[in-house]
Symmetry: C2
C-alpha cells in the first residue's frame, strides 16, 4: 500500500485512508522509507513525513524499539575506537505517538508585538508515560536488567512528570535497575562509554535524536532495524535509516536494515522466532563472506550493490 | 555573587535580586557550575538550574557560543578514532533565552479524561530567530565561512519558521555557505564525520544536546569554555561542564574549562585579545609539559589535582 511520497504522487495525500485500513487489518506491517527531494518544500499536511506520523498514530504504535548493536564483522566501520565500540549492545525504547510530535497546540501565530511565532507543545499524560515505561521495564528485564530513563527534568515540567511516573513503576520491577540521566548528558555518555547502557527509555523527540546517535556509533546505520508496537493490533517494522534520496535508483542502498526489519517483524509481530533467527543468521553469514555495500565497504571486502546483497542473503537462508 | 545552590543555601532563592543587579552592572560575568545532589529534589522554582536560567534571561544573553576543538595534545582522550577526531574545530551557536526552556505555556494540568499531564511550549518569534541567526552568520564569516542550521522542520512548526528566517538572512551573507540539517541526522553526522562542520546554529534544547555531544567528541569536556552574549550589556562566561557533584571537594576537578572561559571573557567581553591569547597559550604549554587532571590522564603523563593544575598554568602565564 502506498504511503509518504509514493502516496502523494498517486493520491495527493501522504496517508490514503485505504492504506491505513488495510494496515489495521494486517498481522504486521513492513514499511519502506518515506521522504525525498520532490516533496521537501511541501506544506506540512502534504509532507511524506506527515503520512508516517499519521500511520504511527493511526495504528497506536506508541513504543519504538531501536536496537544498536556493534557486530564483530563491522566493528571497523564505527568511527569509535575499537575498545570503545566492541560489545556495544543497547536498545532505545522511544515513545512514538506523543510528546512534541503530536501536541495539539501547534502552528503559527502573532505575539503581543505583532511578531510571527511558530510553536509546538511537548505534552505527556500519565497513561502515555506508564505504558511506554512498562514496555521499557519488560524489555530491560529480558535483556541485562538495566534501564536508563532519559529526560530533561531539571528544566521541563513534561520531563518532571515523566521521571515521577517512571520512578513509581520501578517498584513493580525490583529485578530491573533504574537510573535517570539528563538528555544532554546522555548524548555525551553514548560517545564516552556506550557500553554502560543496556535499555534506554525516552520521549519522542529525545528518542529521535539519541537513537540516531546510538545507531551511528555502530558505524552501520544501514544495518539497523526497528519495531514499533502498541498494546494490540499490528506492529510497524522499518529500517532506522531514511530514504537516502541522494543515491535513490542507483542500486547502491544497503538492504540489510530492511531485511533485519523483516526478522524483527517475524519475531515480535508473528512470534516466528525460528524464522527470524534464520534471517539474522543469513545476514551474518553474508557479512562473514565479505560482502559489503558501499556504506560499509573497507579494504579486502567485496563491494556489491543493493540487488546483489539481497541475492547473497537469499543464498544463505 | 551567589547563584544556584550557593544562593539557595544563603538566601533561599536560586538567583537573589542583588546578584542579578550586580551582574548587570558588570563588564563581564564569570560563572561557576550550579547544581548538586543537595538540591536535586527541589521544586522547580527552587532548583539551582532555575537560577541559571533566570540569570541568562535577566541578562538577555541569547547567544551561547560553544567551541569544540580537538587539541593535538589531547587527541588520544577522544573515544573517536584518531583520523576522525584530528582537526575537529567547530562552534555551536545555541539560542539560549527562548524555545522550550522559556515558553510561558507550561506546567501541570488534567486532560479531558482526568489524567495528569505535564507540558511545555517550544516557541520562537521571528525576532528571536533573526538575532541568533545574525550572530551565527557573523561567527561563520570569521571562521571558515560554513554555517549549518539544525532543526526538525519536517515535523515542528517552530522549526519551519526557524528554517524560513535563517534562509532569508542568507542573502545578506553571500560569503557564508548555509546548509540545513535535521537534528537526528546532525546527532549522527557529528559522530560520522565531525570535520564537515564549521559553525552550527540551533535552538535552545537541540543546542543543549548537540553541544554536549560535540564537546565529548573532543574527549575533554573538562577543557571546554563557553560564552553567552546579548545585543548589549555584559556577557556570561562559563565552562560547558556541570558541577560534577560526585567529585566535589576532592581537588580532582579539571580547572581548565574555567580558565579558558576567562580567556573567552577577555576576548569577547573586554576586547582584550592579547590577554586572552596569553591564557590560552599558558594552558597549551601546561598540557605540553604533560600535566593532566584525572579526566584526561593517560600513560606517561603527570597526574595532578585541580589546585596544582591551576598553579602550573599560573607559572606559564
Ligand atoms: C521522518 C521523521 C518524521 C521520523 C521521525 O522524526 O520520527 C524519522 O526521523 C524517524 O526517526 O523515524
Ligand atoms: C543546567 C542546565 C539548566 C543547563 C541547560 O540545559 O541549559 C546546562 O545543561 C547547560 O547546557 O548549560
Amino acid at each position: 500500500m502506498p504511503v509518504g511520497g509514493a502516496a502523494l504522487d498517486l493520491t495527493g495525500v501522504p496517508l490514503p485512508e485505504e492504506t491505513l485500513s488495510v494496515a489495521k487489518q494486517s498481522d504486521a506491517i513492513l514499511l519502506g522509507a518515506i521522504g525525498g527531494y520532490t516533496w521537501d518544500a511541501n506544506e506540512k499536511h502534504l509532507k511524506p513525513e506527515t503520512g508516517l506520523l499519521q500511520l504511527r498514530e493511526g495504528l497506536g504504535v506508541f513504543a519504538n524499539l531501536r536496537p544498536a548493536t556493534v557486530l564483530p564483522q563491522l566493528i571497523d566501520s564505527s568511527t569509535l575506537k575499537r575498545e570503545v565500540a566492541q560489545g556495544v549492545d543497547l536498545m532505545v525504547v522511544r515513545e512514538l505517538t506523543g510528546g512534541i510530535y503530536f501536541g495539539k497546540q501547534r502552528g503559527f501565530a502573532k505575539n503581543e508585538n505583532g511578531d510571527e511565532i511558530g510553536f509546538n507543545t511537548e505534552v505527556y499524560a500519565t497513561y502515555e508515560i506508564d505504558r511506554i515505561a512498562r514496555v521499557a521495564f519488560e524489555t530491560a528485564r529480558k535483556r541485562r536488567g538495566k534501564l536508563c530513563s532519559v529526560d530533561k527534568a531539571n528544566v521541563l515540567e513534561a520531563s518532571m512528570l515523566w521521571r515521577k511516573r517512571v520512578t513509581m513503576m520501578a517498584s513493580e520491577y525490583p529485578d530491573v535497575e533504574l537510573t535517570h540521566m539528563y538528555v544532554d548528558n546522555a548524548a555525551m555518555q553514548l560517545i564516552r562509554d556506550p557500553k554502560q547502557f543496556d535499555t534506554i527509555v525516552t520521549n519522542n523527540i529525545f528518542g529521535d535524536i539519541l537513537s540516531d546517535e546510538a545507531s551511528m556509533l555502530t558505524g552501520s546505520i544501514g544495518m539497523l532495524p526497528s519495531a514499533s508496537i502498541g498494546d494490540s493490533g499490528p506492529g510497524l517494522y522499518e529500517p532506522i535509516h531514511g530514504s537516502a534520496p541522494d543515491i535513490a535508483g542507483q542500486d547502491k542502498g544497503n538492504p540489510l536494515a530492511t531485511v533485519l526489519s523483516v526478522a524483527m517483524l517475524l519475531k515480535y509481530g508473528l512470534q516466528e522466532e525460528a524464522a527470524a533467527k534464520r534471517i539474522e543468521n543469513a545476514v551474518l553469514e553474508t557479512l562473514d563472506k565479505g560482502f559489503r555495500t558501499g556504506d560499509l565497504f573497507s579494504m579486502g571486502m567485496r563491494l556489491v550493490g543493493c540487488k546483489e546483497m539481497g541475492e547473497e542473503v537469499l543464498k544463505s537462508i
